[in-house]
């Protein structure tokens, strides 16, 4: 009995498959970084729309935020991968398919752009109008003010909250195995099918994710505090 338990828990199988599993983890990171870039760019765009002086643009920004912030990431991944190509294919009268990587990155990027847009917007609105007027009075263009005065402060202000969002996004990358993106979870389920030993494999995966996220979030928080303290004393 105790021997079976020991065998069940024996995590060494994880070590045997380390190259495959590491490759899977690398895929998680790859999807994470690409989706984060998409989410940050779209989020900034939507936030700028939301603080625009023109009402239709503001409405467009709000629409973007509300749609994607309220879409469950799992549903979005499935929808983008299976439904979107059908729609495009029908419209263009051709067969159209999306690479699972692309689907995953688009879906997660859009969902998280909804969250980042709100963080960006709060950060932009926290910059006192007087600082912007000081820039205008020196003859700065709006673009100059955005890039040199507003965004550098927004980034510093956003850091604590966005670290949490980056962590959520990283966790969300584990659902891409559902559309056969070969990430760590995908590799683990493949190996489980051969080895029939789910317990050590899934436990190992959980431990790896846990360790990665814990270390990364501590490092990021410490770095961001040091950087912020200089100006928001």
């Amino acid at each position: 009995m105790s021997e079976t338990l020991q065998q069940l828990l024996d995590i060494s199988i994880f070590w045997e498959y380390r190259t495959v599993l590491l490759r899977g983890l690398a895929v998680n990171f790859y999807v994470f970084v690409c989706a984060a870039i998409v989410a940050l760019s779209l989020g900034l765009g939507a936030a700028l729309l939301r603080v625009s002086r023109r009402r239709p643009l503001r409405a467009l920004g709000t629409l973007h935020v509300e749609i994607f912030r309220n879409a469950p990431d799992y549903v979005m991944v499935v929808w983008v991968h299976f439904v979107l190509p059908l729609l495009i294919g029908t419209l263009l009268h051709t067969r159209f398919e999306l690479n699972p990587f692309v689907s995953a990155i688009i879906a997660l990027g859009f969902v998280y752009s909804g969250y980042f847009a709100e963080t960006f917007r709060a950060g932009i609105e926290a910059v006192p109008i007087g600082q912007i007027e000081a820039g205008r009075s020196c003859g700065m263009s709006d673009r100059h003010i955005l890039w040199r005065i507003v965004l550098p402060q927004v980034v510093r202000r956003m850091l604590p909250e966005s670290i949490n969002q980056f962590i959520s996004l990283f966790k969300a990358t584990t659902i891409v195995s559902l559309i056969a993106v070969p990430d760590l979870m995908y590799q683990v389920s493949m190996i489980t099918q051969q080895e029939m030993r789910p317990l050590p494999l899934y436990t190992g995966a959980a431990l790896v994710y846990f360790a990665v996220i814990l270390v990364a979030s501590y490092a990021l928080r410490a770095a961001s505090e040091r950087w912020r303290n200089k100006i928001f004393a």
Binding site: E133, A134, G135, R136, G139, M140, H144, P152, R156, A233
Partner: protein, 257 residues
């Protein structure tokens, strides 16, 4: 005087919805002159200053900077089109503004604040801008704080950095909107001291202030604004010595006792 005035304000009206805040203000400021603008809260002083640097667009009227219209671009045929923002930004380089709330950029060092616009708006090299920035910081006696961040400075020091930042644009005129109103009394003097030195150096200045002593001693001309109109103006000795309008008399009485 045949010289073109540095600033000429011509019949400026400004409305916010149904509220008419400026009701036709005209005046001129010549090179090297210091003009103090005083008046009760809500009389339109800030609004007038904000029209001069085009943070507000006058409803009607115009402002001329060394003879050039700020609000309109006229062509040879005599038609007038509103001036595009890019040209307004170019003209703003000639106006240095100091606000009540300092409005320094907190993520930049003191020197960074001062050289940002000379470097990236006027296009000076970083080295030339740093040289100029150092000189401007010396004029406000803060050369040793160049590498500090604004959050580490006192209010008086922050306001002096803001003055240096405006000076670094080498403007034709400096606009001050109550530069000492958010400072503790003991910090007011160091800022007023710097402004006196600027005036003595021949800087053209328009100063909105509640500091009657400063207005009286430093300005060439005082303007008293009341309900969106210049109620009385003249040299300070005449204004304070023999006020003509009853309202101005009441206004200064509050500062004397």
């Amino acid at each position: 005087m045949s010289e073109v005035p540095t600033i000429r304000v011509v019949d400026v009206h400004k409305r916010f919805g149904s509220l008419e805040v400026l009701k036709g203000v005209s005046f001129e400021v010549h090179r090297g002159n210091v003009v103090s603008m005083i008046g009760a809260s809500g009389s339109g002083k800030s609004t007038l200053l904000r029209c001069i640097n085009h943070l507000e667009t006058p409803t009607t009227g115009d402002i001329f900077i060394e003879g050039e219209s700020l609000c309109f671009r006229g062509d040879a045929a005599g038609s007038r089109a509103p001036r595009p923002l890019s040209e307004i930004n170019r003209m703003r380089r000639d106006l240095g503004t100091v606000f009540q709330q300092f409005n320094l950029w907190p993520h930049m060092t003191v020197l960074g604040n001062v050289i940002e616009a000379p470097n990236r708006v006027r296009g000076l090299s970083r080295k030339a801008a740093a040289q100029l920035g150092g000189e401007c910081l010396a004029r406000v006696h803060l050369e040793d704080k160049a590498l500090e961040y604004p959050a580490r400075l006192s209010g008086g020091q922050q306001q002096r950095v803001a003055i240096a930042r405006a000076l670094a644009m080498q403007p034709k005129v400096m606009l001050f909107d109550e530069p000492t109103s958010s400072l503790d009394p003991e910090l007011t003097d160091e800022v007023l001291g710097v402004m006196r030195e600027l005036a003595a150096d021949g800087t053209t200045m328009i100063v909105v202030t509640h500091e009657m002593g400063f207005a009286r001693e430093v300005s060439d001309r005082v303007m008293f604004l009341h309900n969106g109109l210049i109620e009385e103006e003249g040299p300070p000795d005449q204004m304070f010595g023999a006020p003509k309008s009853e309202r101005f008399r009441q206004f200064i009485a509050k500062y004397l006792y």
